[in-house]
Symmetry: C2
Subunit: 247 residues, 2 copies
């Protein structure tokens, strides 16, 4: 019941605050309702069809275990994949739940974190500091969401699409908290691997600061920790200081 109220509130919020996004969602819902128009069939058949779709989705998402991120595992032995990354974030949400600001629904955040990277199965992982890759990211991921969530029965496809859109929009307290965790985790990995990805790509403090900025509003209680961690990494030489232009 709580989930239903939450969905209703989200629906109203979308309609009011983001009319463009709302229109796109309505379009997707209309499309998926049309394409899943019920055929006359027995209740058992309906359930069996639903289960077939759900199992197909479960099989398909196994591919997320092959999507490699830039981040190294903490022992530095290999890059992390997006499935194990999503698991790590979900456990972080449990361990750090007490720092969630008012209005955050932790269960909703965990579901969001579990599915937030699924689109990478089709769209691939885009390195956060790759400017060119990030230009086309939104369109590639939207197409992927349509196909992947569309494997599920229409009602579930809608539910996961709304969840993913909420995460991407990053406007609700829950989405902001989820995004904060998604920024803190690679930070920890880079610190633990003595600069890991930062050193490989010559990343500077100002780039990291821009990247982790969502923590300040998404999880304000964790912000001082993040600032301290970045300071420590610069001091230790894991992260380059922001370059200063000479006049």
């Amino acid at each position: 019941m709580e989930t239903r109220q939450h969905s209703q509130a989200l629906f109203n919020w979308y309609a009011e605050k983001s009319p463009c996004r709302f229109a796109r969602i309505i379009e997707i819902i209309t499309y998926s309702l049309k394409s899943s128009k019920p055929q006359p069939q027995s209740e058992i058949q309906v359930q069996s069809n639903r289960l077939t779709q759900q199992i197909q989705f479960i099989i398909e998402i196994d591919r997320l275990k092959h999507v490699m991120r830039q981040t190294l595992l903490i022992d530095g032995s290999r890059r992390e994949n997006s499935a194990e990354h999503s698991w790590h974030l979900a456990v972080m949400a449990i361990a750090l739940a007490e720092y969630a600001p008012e209005g955050v629904d932790i269960f909703h955040a965990i579901k969001m974190l579990l599915i937030h990277d699924l689109v990478e199965i089709d769209a691939g992982d885009t390195f956060c500091y790759d400017v060119q890759g990030n230009d086309s990211k939104a369109e590639r991921e939207a197409q992927a969401a349509l196909r992947l969530f569309g494997l599920l029965p229409a009602d579930q496809a809608r539910e996961l699409r709304l969840l993913w859109d909420e995460f991407e929009a990053g406007e609700t307290p829950t989405a902001k908290f989820a995004a904060a965790l998604d920024r803190i985790q690679p930070l920890l990995h880079n610190q633990q691997t003595q600069g890991g990805t930062w050193r490989i790509h010559g990343i500077r403090r100002d780039q990291v600061m821009k990247r982790v900025a969502p923590v300040e509003t998404g999880a304000p209680e964790l912000w001082p920790f993040v600032l301290q961690l970045i300071d420590d990494c610069v001091t230790a030489g894991y992260l380059k200081e922001t370059s200063t232009l000479k006049i």
Copy 2:
């Protein structure tokens, strides 16, 4: 509040139904309370100490990404690790939530699935058909739980330990449903990899039937699907038929 009520109910249930297990938990709680006896310090210090412990836990659990299971990924390219397996199960809980019997708390099941394999960081993954390995499994995993959950502040260590104990005991509807998903996922992987682990180890239908038995009570609505899947696998030659003794 709901979570608190749930914990209280679980606590009472333990005390009544499993006095031995309950006594062990009380022992752990007493130990962890003693070892985390509060020192006189400011509120900021307390919070900072909590966060330090939580971050240490988050860093430590990265090691689950190195624990390799017997199960192959669906494309057969490599074995699955326990972190990505836990992620897969948690998403399955979302996708298959409608088949959860009455009394199952899906959020609780997801948390359970996210942490159920953490003990393997110390204890390793024990192949389910390895009789010798399974003899010492309980003791090794109990030690691991003590160390790993013990990295967290005492209240959280207790919460996760209760969650893991509940999963291991497999007596509540939520634990039974979680266990059912944990049995269905490798079944799907073995079917998708034309017998995968079964063929490597020469596993027979009766062994698989014993292994998946918890699905019948944990997720009865999924039981016919499981039986059909096993039949199909035997027919396709992915799984050996139960051997019949000749007189």
